[in-house]
């Protein structure tokens, strides 16, 4: 009978192998033990390289195509360092090796520096930055190197359209009135914090290491995926860490490894689920080496269930997920009865009738702090589109997979999520509302998601002046429309809007040209002299730019003067009309005399 108390002897075989021959060449004395098989040094290397190539070719067959490009995601750690070397050896075989067709015609190296997320102060971040160390490795190879920092996930480039600049604000409402935590969110224009500060505050607001690690992993993957819209191959998945370690030692790569600190470096196994999993796998590899690759292989065989709509993916981790999580969750968890949230909350609550992206609430918030009046004009089409979005139908919890939703629970204060998340959520809402509107740059740049309500003409009580445009430096003005706007008033308003538009267009183009040419000039100087241009050198550029722009500027000035003079008369008339409204009734008839004179 088997006794559960009986110790399992797994080391038995290992100790017996002492003094054995290599199972491959059967001549040399074995020096390495891998999965109970003994190898000599040279046979080990041969087998290891062979296994890599076989794995690579196998995975290639399944997603084949010729002229493929490869990108190595290089952390600098033992596995990716080894992978890079193996891939190079494979792509550029030595003369005496059997020439195989090189399957990748281009190899790039990409590294994501995570030091910002790991260390607290800037000094330590710099000191432990992995970007330059990894770049040094990459330079030894003749491949293009792409170095990224994790905080870049907050820049608008890392979205599917490439310039989406809204973020999503997420928080859990902890108010005691509701007793239950409520996930709140809204799409919002990015705050003025730097990307680094944003990432730091996001991570700082997450209480559990596990959630932090997961989020970092998603961000990293998102960055990598944006760099190379790829199929991920894992040719190393069958390798034991022991094999990699020994190979690296034999090839000298071991001295060329960048130790990448993680959130749980030097921490006990229980500090996060990832760390605990690692600890388990490492222990497993030691005692049952064959089981580890079984995990990887079994994982690769998992397929999404038929219930999963593959077109929908989680806004944070980008993986497909099952819809209706909230329903499911409510069936399996104990629910507290929720009372409505206080109405002064700037966030809309999913428990209320409105959507989390409740524009009315958002715009109230905007109006009170006046910080987001920078929207450009919103056309009727855009306004209609916005109205479509307003229909209550999709909550943030519907756009996330269960795992990411659970991670959100660890958020302790209001945080900003990167634009790619906001973009995914907006796209989903569009899909859900069957809006056929395609996303275009102007629409997104107008930042109307948060402010559209403010700009629907009817809601304005007076003229609104926004913050200066980033490029044209002009303040956008949204004119007040009175209820019974007379034809003259309409004409006058449209005239002013047209002139504003003219100014805005001219200065946008002019300033863009200026910024671009200035940058080019500075780069040239830097290339020649290796330093920044002096004020004297810059003045040459300024004069040159003004000379070149003379005709354009003069044409604009003439147009502007013309419009200005042309506006005097209708402007005067309008002033009189307005004045009349404020006058006591008995005086109005007399004023009409001046008005007549002015209009004749």
């Amino acid at each position: 009978m088997c006794n559960i108390e009986e110790p399992i002897l797994v080391k038995e075989q290992a100790t017996l192998s002492t003094g054995k021959k290599c199972i491959k060449c059967k001549v040399a004395n074995a020096t390495i033990l891998i999965r109970y098989s003994t190898y000599c040094k040279s046979c080990f290397q041969h087998v290891f390289v062979g296994k890599f190539r076989k794995n690579l070719e196998k995975s290639r067959v399944t997603h084949s195509g010729s002229d493929e490009k490869a990108m190595v995601a290089l952390s600098g750690g033992p596995s990716s360092r080894c992978l890079l070397q193996l891939l190079r050896d494979y792509c550029e075989p030595l003369p005496h090796e059997i020439s195989k067709k090189s399957i990748f015609n281009e190899v790039k190296i990409c590294h994501v520096d995570e030091s910002v997320a790991i260390f607290d102060d800037q000094e330590k971040e710099k000191e432990n930055s992995t970007l330059h160390k990894v770049e040094l490795i990459a330079r030894k190879y003749n491949y293009e190197f792409i170095g990224l920092r994790l905080e870049e996930i907050f820049s608008p480039e890392y979205t599917s359209i490439g310039f989406y600049d809204n973020v999503i604000e997420v928080t859990f409402d902890d108010s005691k009135r509701t007793q239950a935590k409520e996930l709140l969110s809204r799409i919002y224009t990015q705050s003025s914090l730097s990307n680094r500060e944003k990432l730091k505050s996001l991570l700082g607001a997450i209480s559990s290491l596990t959630s932090k690690e997961e989020l970092l992993w998603h961000f990293k993957l998102c960055l990598l995926m944006q760099m190379a819209h790829v199929i991920i191959l894992r040719p190393m998945k069958d390798m034991l860490s022991k094999e990699i370690g020994i190979y690296n030692r034999f090839t000298g790569l071991v001295d060329d490894i960048v130790v990448t600190p993680t959130l749980t470096s030097m921490m006990p196994a229980k500090s996060s689920i990832e760390k605990l999993t690692e600890d388990f796998i490492v222990g497993l590899e030691k005692d049952y080496p064959s089981t580890v690759s079984t995990i990887a292989r079994t994982g690769a065989k998992l397929k999404p269930s038929n219930l999963i709509n593959l077109e929908w993916s989680c806004a944070v981790c980008m993986m497909p997920y099952k819809e209706g999580i909230k329903n499911w969750q409510s069936r399996i968890t104990v629910h507290m009865k929720q009372s409505p949230l206080p109405s002064q909350s700037p966030f809309a609550s999913p428990s209320q009738k409105s959507t989390p992206m409740d524009y009315h609430n958002s715009s109230c918030q905007c109006a009170s702090n006046g910080s987001c009046c920078a929207a450009n004009n919103i056309s009727d089409q855009q306004y209609n589109h916005h109205k479509q979005l307003q229909r209550p139908n999709l909550e943030i919890s519907d756009t996330l997979c269960y795992a990411c939703l659970v991670n959100m629970r660890d958020i302790k204060s209001i945080v900003e999520f990167p634009p790619y998340v906001a973009e995914a959520i907006v796209q989903k809402i569009q899909k859900a509302t069957n809006a056929t509107v395609t996303i275009s740059p102007t629409r997104l740049k107008s930042k109307f998601f948060a402010t559209a309500e403010l700009y629907s003409h009817k809601s304005l009580k007076t003229d609104y002046v926004g913050i200066p445009d980033k490029i044209s430096n002009l303040r956008p003005i949204k004119y007040y429309i009175p209820e019974n706007e007379s034809p003259q008033d309409i004409e006058w308003r449209l005239h002013r809007e047209r002139v504003d538009q003219l100014n805005h267009q001219f200065w946008t183009i002019n300033n863009k040209l200026f910024i671009d040419e200035k940058q080019e000039y500075e780069d040239q100087i830097k290339l020649k002299t290796g330093r920044k241009p002096t004020p004297a050198e810059m003045s040459i550029f300024y004069k040159d730019f003004l000379d070149k722009a003379y005709d354009r500027q003069m044409a604009y000035n003439k147009q502007w003067w013309k419009e200005n003079i042309g506006m005097l008369v209708p402007g005067g008339k309008a002033a009189i009309r307005n004045f009349r409204i404020w006058m006591p009734k008995r005086l109005r008839t007399r004023i009409s005399f001046f008005e007549k004179n002015a209009s004749s």
Partner: protein, 102 residues
């Protein structure tokens, strides 16, 4: 009597030893009564004399923690008798961490 052995710490192991990557050390030829020094003794000796911090990241019980490879003269220590291997003069003993991030 003492033995001179060359120790190397790689793959992040050096962080536990104040960035020490390589060192030739002199150890007693016999630590446990009059028995010759074995790997077991050596690991204990390293823990007590060289390790700067966090012994739990280096040792687990009497042996090294899982995730640390040990090579003796470029041969897998599992083929050399592991803890019972008797350390010899001028042995090259390498400790390599295989963990990502240490």
């Amino acid at each position: 009597m003492s033995l001179k052995v060359n120790l190397s710490f790689n793959g992040g192991m050096e962080l536990l030893f104040n960035n020490l990557k390589q060192k030739t050390v002199e150890i007693p030829a016999s630590m446990n009564n009059s028995n010759p020094t074995t790997m077991k003794d050596l690991i204990r000796w390293i823990r007590d004399n060289l390790l700067q911090e966090r012994p739990e990241l280096f040792v687990s019980g009497e042996t090294v923690r899982p995730g640390i490879l040990v090579l003796i003269n470029d041969a897998d220590w599992e083929l050399e008798g592991e803890l019972n291997y008797e350390v010899k003069e001028a042995d090259d003993i390498v400790f390599i961490s295989t963990l990502h991030g240490g």
